[in-house]
Symmetry: C2
């Protein structure tokens, strides 16, 4: 390890204080006014090439970076994007956060994270407080907060642009990024049917999340398309958590005739099905195929690894950031729909042993 400062003494060098350069410093060094520096930094037009070059050189020399607070105070653009979430469903949020973070860095924005309880009676106050304090340039709303009227109204009233990730319904003037959950769930189900399964269990997601309903409908649509009757007893209620998946799986396992395949509405619950199968000594995929949804990390740390449907979470949030930075509110209803992809791994196989 490279310990340039005195590792032997265990003391950090008393480095000389170094105050970050300000816009005035740059202006002085470049021999222009601060307004001109501002123009260059913000890529405004009407600056001669020579001036621009001089300013950029000064910026480089002084390692100048505009102070975020000063910018936020002086203008509408705060260079801050907020990621608002409720349920820390780890893998899901992690994926979104990663994408947002990367895109923010590319664009020179900062990401701040805020958590809110969507069931809170003071939700309206909480979101208002958030906005008053931190004046983000825009917010990314994850489910189920993206469907909470009080949140949307607060954002509207504050004229804060926002992008909703995987919302329940589209609303004019409220941009969204989502995938076609209905279609994706159909694809997964059809794949299982194609494998030869007829008795396919389904574990529903949290009823507060819009995607849950879309996925259930997709599952049913695929069944119908294949001429397989929908059996209510094959449908168990889950809540997107591993624990709820365990309970749902046990319900399904307790059926007189067990399904030959189970499609869980997300990977955490699918992992729970896998764990339950092991607990009951049911072999996967020989005796039971399992499919998940989202393609989060958990699907890669199980054995067999999960067949699932990849939802491009980080692309979705990256796109959300880009929309926000383009003043998305003005361009009418932007409804970006990203593609999904069936990811076949080892947890699925034809029924009746391989």
């Amino acid at each position: 390890l490279d310990n340039t400062h005195k590792a032997h003494s265990g003391r950090i060098e008393a480095a000389p204080e170094k105050k970050p350069a300000r816009i005035d410093d740059v202006a002085r060094l470049a021999g222009v006014s601060i307004k001109t520096v501002s123009r260059v930094v913000n890529q405004e037009p009407n600056v001669s090439d020579a001036t621009r070059a001089a300013v950029l050189a000064a910026v480089e020399t002084l390692s100048y970076r505009p102070n975020m607070f000063a910018r936020g105070l002086a203008s509408e653009r705060s260079y801050v994007i907020g990621l608002l979430y409720d349920n820390p469903c780890a893998g899901y949020i992690a994926g979104l956060q990663q994408g947002a973070l990367n895109r923010c860095r590319e664009l020179g924005y900062h990401l701040f994270i805020e958590q809110l309880d969507s069931d809170s009676p003071v939700l309206a106050d909480a979101i208002q407080a958030l906005l008053s304090e931190s004046r983000p340039h825009g917010m990314i709303l994850t489910p189920p907060l993206c469907d909470a009227p009080v949140v949307l109204n607060a954002l509207e009233r504050n004229r804060t642009p926002f992008v909703r990730i995987a919302p329940e319904k589209f609303l004019a003037g409220a941009p969204t990024v989502s995938i076609d959950d209905h279609r994706a769930a159909m694809d997964v189900t059809s794949y299982l049917i194609g494998l030869g399964h007829r008795r396919i269990g389904f574990i529903k997601g949290h009823p507060g999340h819009a995607a849950s309903h879309a996925r259930l409908k997709g599952y049913r649509a695929a069944l119908t398309q294949a001429g397989i009757p929908f059996m209510p007893e094959l449908c168990a209620q889950g809540y997107f958590s591993f624990q709820s998946g365990m309970e749902a799986a046990e319900t399904l396992f307790a059926l007189e005739e067990r399904p030959t395949a189970i499609f869980a509405s997300n990977d955490d619950m699918a992992a729970a099905v896998l764990a339950t199968a092991q607990k009951f000594r049911v072999r996967t995929p020989q005796e039971l195929s399992v499919a998940g949804f989202d393609d989060t990390l958990v699907g890669r740390v199980t054995w067999p690894r999960l067949t699932t449907c990849r939802q491009p979470l980080s692309e979705m949030s990256a796109e959300a950031v880009s929309m926000l930075t383009r003043c998305a509110m003005d361009d009418g209803p932007a409804e970006h729909r990203l593609g999904h992809e069936l990811v076949v791994r080892e947890s699925t196989a034809p029924p009746g042993g391989g």
Copy 2:
């Protein structure tokens, strides 16, 4: 769902714009000066009870929240805490982030997430740029960035307080929060020994992380204490990732005489051992006990669930936030050490079947 705004039309009501109240508004309503409002809001002394009450009432009425940017500009306190990380080792970072987020909310701070590549040749510039732009009140440094001299020096030069999580070595003037990794690894190993295991494999962590070395030493110390010779071939190199854990596990499985237990330096790698065991049809815990470290989510979504050592990640980061908000830099070398806890679940058992 409660759709107070017109769900039928799919359009958000054009709510009247509502500008957040400013300090002047509060002062006017309360009939005092802005300085007095400031005093009350910042909990400064020397305000009469009557005045304080009046101000608080006005604050409440107007839903006043101080503007973060104005505060950051006007004073040293920016009310922003930065969480700096390198490796998005999902569970680990998620745990830290959650704790930091909660404590920030309690204390009225905001959490910024920043990611940096600790191997980048321009690391020094990157951290400097970050600090110049976002002027956090303090930063939380996770491994391995907490041991990067250029990062520490940049922070020092900018007079930005920071707390290091689980650093390699203690440095005067640089507060830390950690657990006793050496002791914790001893505890896990001793537990396995107590179960009757003598041939205990070990999967090392990323050599760039200080905790890796401490855990290896703890493992060896426990062996020595029990009079069991250290066998180099039972020690495989991992890098904290699931994938690296798979490879390390396969190395260990390929040994002529397989270990009866494997202790992996983190949960991701332990989960990989579990997966590898299943792949090779080795039953856990009957034929192989597996123990992890950290107690992250992954240990609860496997079957059998992981025996592991709980590292109180969210408490650690929460404590870090508190230290930062208390102007930790002045109080000399604060080295907080939090307790760990052995978490016994189903992945460990006496050797030779149960």
